[in-house]
Symmetry: C2
Subunit: 482 residues, 2 copies
């Protein structure tokens, strides 16, 4: 049974929340001018009206939220946010096509950061702020989802830590979530404020510091500048953002525990160590490749290599150099990193590091099992024994990820994109990264795609952001039975 | 414990077998001339001498073959065959580089069909025959392996049918294998003879008919003509070879049962049906794409599309048209087919159809499990319930396959090949297909690769041919312990 009233009631609350989130950009728009103020006001009025009417007509329900309702609320919540959040771009006329406006907003809320804009700096302050705010809100949503809701639904790598996040029985969704969410949002806000201050100390204006910090912590990637972070050409800014991208790519519950006085916790966590290992190896490879290829000194090669590697592996997508000009092997490394995304419980998208770690250990175990067919060989991550159900869930996730990826590439190919562009665009959308390969590289944009391609990639962003299962499950007949 | 004496004894028997197999091409060489006769004689003398000495010095063992020894014999057997089998090409001077000769021979024995030759028709008859014979012997070896040996070692999709192929306990290798092998080799020989006759009826000379039939049944792909099957420009030849490629891509134990009077068995087998389904869908797609793109009539488009699709999915690699000139989406379909190879128990390489089928059903089951967390949902293929151990084995296989593929592409990239060429070359080698993409397409050859690249791809052919585990297991420290 789907509980339609409680679903609509929750969604209406979300719509009202969206309307409230539109107030800060509206104020900025009013202050700076630029012709987008009315668009914000209209959107707020429309959202509030719809939200309030829906809220009060569905209020008197005696239904409790259950797992199935959760899948629907999460998926439709994200879609509704993007549908309504696109209105300011569209109504102001700065993005004249609604398809483009929706793509841009879904890219924001899904923390992807792929843009259809050719000249970002032509947008007024209000819209630029809203664009970055969609990232930040999307990131908040993801923390709530990945650390509190999805584990209860049985989706996502974080279920490994189910035991560590004591919550209600899997079939009832409300009570403890609020507390967990508040703690982790506290960490999220704290890190955002810290980055804003550090960027301003480096000479970046407050507006750009806020927008770029929103984009960093959410691992989003929307910049206020056409040349992304490369605009500042500053080692200080590059390294600050690199460090905060790494922080955003780590499990937020580790940050919470570290802030509570256990900073060494990072180095006891196998997922974090593996994450650092991959970043280290990839940075080394790319740095020497750039150094070898260009006349740049080693320090600049390292700075660029490190930034780009971290930007891709955390699924942020900021840029300070165009990796499309790098050697074929470095580009291949970047492409591979698109499939190793942030840690579970981070704001990063795609396949989580812990999933890859589990699958690698599982595969190695299969070889051992051939040598000792009778032995019992559990898969361990750190000291934790990973249950067979979790391995199956992760393996299934991986298979869906690869299948959707392959199908997506074929689809984009049919739409007329070349091989490399299709590969990069689909990997970047499904992994919520932003920049892809070929014609969708870091200096390009998604504006030239046919409309169908934009809707399709928007859908992939949603599917990737919600850990695949959450969206796919709604398309199964079994879900709607009884 | 590794039983070194019994291993060497078995390998020496294999060397003597190789020497015997070199007699037919030597006779052909003597009859037709061409300057390669001496090279055959030297190789035979060398192999017989080494083989006999080794055989008699290791004869007095009281050891029994066990699983571990099996892995070593299979892997080193294939390598030894390629090392010695390369000598006629090298000693005759027709392939002046030993690296090239080894690549060509490994490509033959692994039934890959990738060639380093620019002008195939410049080879004398003896070498051409030997080149095709390596395919045929490789195919024989694979039937023995995949239907008799590997299931006992716990490797490969065929273990699903373990129950159907009653054999000795997994730790003792000899008795029943011989009987199974003889029956299936009977089918193999029968099909080969049938194809030879049918091709000769279509006007092809006996020599080319034999060579092409060897290449078909082994799903190899070496042709005696520079333009491959396209040389004949005959609808009859194309369709005969297409049909026999399909037969070679099916499970040989089904052929055996069909020949015993149950021809409907194919349509009761879920793997076969899925295989036909993929061929049908891909052929349809490609046919319409060619038709749309060129001015060819629909019949020719279908003939070319059907041939190329079957050639790639069965991992044969014969060509009648250059798919590199096709639309981007058709090329993508060809690339995807490189990962859906023949059925288990066929001579096809790579990921078997049954594995994909199991993984697809498994993934769909994972979604069901989210909806009904308490339900017990076994994965079924046809009426058979697939055990969790087999699913784990297949999933591990798939993960290794993808990992080796990605690592291989990166490695080829570092060697200086472009993105598409690396993708195609590695997929074609690991899947034992032959032609790849980009600079390694159907009209190109592997000759221009650097030596390191040739050794690396030869290694991938071996790894792919022996179902990955068989080779990888030897590289684990655990294998050599105690």
């Amino acid at each position: 049974m789907i509980h339609i009233k409680v679903i609509l009631n929750t969604l209406s609350a979300l719509i009202i929340f969206l309307a409230i989130s539109l107030i800060p950009p509206a104020i900025i728009s009013w202050y700076y001018g630029g012709g987008d103020f009315n668009a914000f006001v209209y959107t707020i009025i429309a959202s509030v009206s719809v939200g309030i009417i829906l809220f009060f007509t569905t209020r008197n329900h005696k239904q409790e939220l259950r797992a199935k309702d959760g899948f629907i609320i999460v998926t439709f919540g994200w879609v509704l946010f993007s549908l309504l959040g696109a209105l300011p771009f569209f109504l102001s006329g700065f993005i004249p096509s609604y398809t483009d406006a929706f793509f841009e907003t879904m890219s924001g809320f899904s923390t992807t950061g792929a843009t259809i804009l050719t000249d970002i700096e032509a947008l007024p302050h209000g819209l630029l702020f809203w664009r970055s705010l969609t990232h930040w809100l999307g990131g908040m949503g993801i923390i709530l989802l990945s650390l509190a809701i999805l584990p209860l639904l049985g989706v996502g790598g974080m279920q490994l830590f189910k035991a560590e996040v004591p919550g209600p029985s899997p079939d009832k969704l409300t009570p403890r979530i609020k507390h967990t969410a508040e703690l982790l949002w506290g960490v999220y806000v704290l890190l955002t404020v810290a980055e804003i201050i550090l960027l301003m100390m480096g000479g970046m204006g407050w507006f750009d510091s806020v927008c770029h910090s929103f984009g960093t912590l959410a691992t989003g990637g929307f910049s206020t500048k056409n040349a992304s972070i490369g605009h500042y050409n500053s080692a200080y800014v590059d390294y600050i953002i690199t460090i905060f991208m790494i922080l955003a790519g780590l499990n937020f519950s580790l940050h919470y525990r570290a802030l509570r006085g256990k900073p060494r916790i990072y180095f006891k966590d196998p997922e974090t160590l593996f994450f650092f290992g991959i970043i280290g190896a990839a940075t080394l490879f790319v740095t020497f490749s750039i150094w070898h290829q260009t006349s740049q000194d080693i320090a600049l090669s390292f700075r660029q290599g490190f930034f780009q590697v971290v930007s891709i592996i955390t699924t942020t997508g900021y840029g300070t150099a165009d990796y499309e000009t790098w050697s074929s092997s470095s580009r291949m490394v970047i492409f591979i990193l698109m499939f190793f995304c942030g840690c579970a419980g981070s704001t990063g998208g795609g396949l989580k590091i812990i999933s890859s770690l589990i699958l690698i250990k599982f595969s190695l175990n299969e070889i051992k099992r051939l040598i000792h067919p009778q032995a019992v060989l559990p898969v361990r991550v750190g000291k934790v024994v990973v249950s067979r159900d979790i391995i199956a869930n992760v393996a299934g996730f991986y298979l869906f990820y690869v299948s959707i990826f392959v199908f997506g590439v074929l689809f984009m190919n049919i739409l007329g994109l070349d091989f490399e562009t299709s590969l990069g665009g689909v990997a970047a959308s499904l992994g919520n990264i932003g920049p892809g390969l070929g014609d969708l590289g870091p200096t390009d944009n998604y504006g030239f795609l046919p409309d169908l391609g934009k809707w399709f990639l928007s859908f992939l962003m949603l599917v990737g952001r919600l850990e695949i299962y959450t969206v796919l499950i709604i398309f199964t007949p079994m879900f709607w039975k009884k």
